[in-house]
């Protein structure tokens, strides 16, 4: 099976929605069936897409699908991003440039299986190289990363753990973060405690509202996702969560998350957010 992506895989809910739909056959691929994903003609690949692509590739290797991922070679800035982000190392084993390379505005991909304190260190180190980061904004970024990684460890049952990608955008002065797992999705996790969580839209309504938890562990009180939305909203950032066959999107500091059907099934959960780096 060959799937082709082109255009801008931008860090926003609409292009991500389009990307998820384009990837639906790969995401639904049974074990042992080979696939190739051709991204060579994409004009932009951001950290949100990077996390999804990396998770698909890692899961494809795990399921013996012999995945092949063709990355863009032009324009040169995009090719450089594919190197700095660790994507090229993932698929072709080419070395990733050092994390503190002066031209790098991205952290290399991280695959994780535990929610440790140092999960956000490389993101903060990246931002400090490029901008003045005040302590409040640093705390928001670190806490947002912690909420997502803890959720994956506690609830996702993801065979690959989680995959994290992040990039600093100097033009818009914001950090963009994508964290993806290939687990059971929010609906199945919540249904353990709330059997009437019939679908992903209802699950997203519940977790964005807060107070609903699968109680997978004693530390779960069901407020992590709603904390995340509050922090992103108060900072004037953007956020999207894709899980199962639905997604929730938040733009800026106005309003509540909008929850919609995805139109296909994403086998896991992807949490994507942007935060301004200026106070």
């Amino acid at each position: 099976m060959i799937v082709k992506l082109d255009g801008n895989l931008d860090d926003d809910d609409r292009p991500m929605h389009a990307m998820m739909v384009a990837l639906k056959d790969i995401h639904a691929t049974a074990t042992d069936r080979r696939w190739k994903l051709h991204c060579g003609e994409c004009q932009y690949v951001g950290p949100w897409a990077t996390a999804v692509l990396a998770a698909a590739y890692i899961e494809g290797v795990r399921r013996q699908q012999h995945p092949r991922l063709v990355l863009p070679e032009v324009p040169s800035a995009l090719a450089a991003y594919c190197s700095f982000s660790g994507l090229r190392h993932l698929v072709r084993k080419e070395p990733t440039p050092k994390a503190d390379h002066p031209e790098s505005e991205t952290i290399p991909l991280e695959q994780f299986t535990q929610a440790s304190w140092d999960r956000s260190n490389r993101i903060i180190a990246l931002l400090r190289r490029h901008t003045e980061l005040d302590s409040e904004r640093e705390e928001q970024i670190r806490s947002c990363v912690q909420e997502v990684t803890q959720n994956i460890v506690d609830h996702a049952d993801s065979p690959i753990g989680g995959v994290l990608s992040a990039r600093y955008m100097s033009a818009s002065r914001e950090v963009r973060v994508g964290i993806v797992d290939r687990g059971i999705g929010i609906a199945r996790s919540l249904a353990r405690e709330y059997p009437d969580t019939h679908n992903s839209m209802k699950a997203l309504q519940r977790v964005t509202q807060g107070g609903f938890t699968s109680r997978s562990r004693p530390n779960n009180m069901g407020i992590g996702v709603s904390n995340l939305f509050l922090m992103v909203k108060s900072a004037g950032g953007r956020m999207a969560i894709f899980t199962g066959d639905a997604f929730a999107a938040l733009h800026g500091s106005a309003g509540s998350p909008v929850i919609q059907s995805l139109g296909c099934d994403f086998p896991g959960t992807g949490v994507f957010f942007t935060l301004p780096t200026d106070a």
């Binding site: 806490s143 912690q146 779960n220 009180m221 407020i223 992590g224």
Partner: protein
């Protein structure tokens, strides 16, 4: 600040190993706080030097404390000192959740 002058201050940062899970250090902080409260003392947990708190971090601490306090956080023997608005927000929401659900 409403605690007695002889409250024991626990600096959460002293219990943190950066490479280890967040909830492991939270459990240590919570156990330390619970031990002091069980003995009749007062406790201030300071997170002012901690970077990247999460709801799980506070949930674990507060759940352990809630058992000793019988979920009565108004008795004046326990307090958390936060260092910024984000920490204060996350702490307050965890406190509200633990009070609502009870200790686990």
């Amino acid at each position: 600040m409403l605690l007695a002058m002889d409250a024991t201050v626990i600096n959460a940062k002293d219990f943190i190993d950066e490479k280890k899970p967040v909830i492991d250090s939270a459990a240590k902080v919570g156990d330390q706080a619970a031990s002091i409260l069980r003995a009749g003392g007062s406790v201030v947990v300071s997170v002012q030097d901690v970077r990247g708190v999460s709801s799980s971090f506070f949930n674990v601490i507060l759940s352990r404390v809630a058992i000793v306090l019988h979920n009565d956080f108004g008795d004046g023997r326990f307090e958390v000192q936060t260092g910024n608005k984000t920490q204060a927000l996350i702490y307050q929401r965890s406190l509200d959740a633990v009070k609502r659900h009870g200790p686990q």
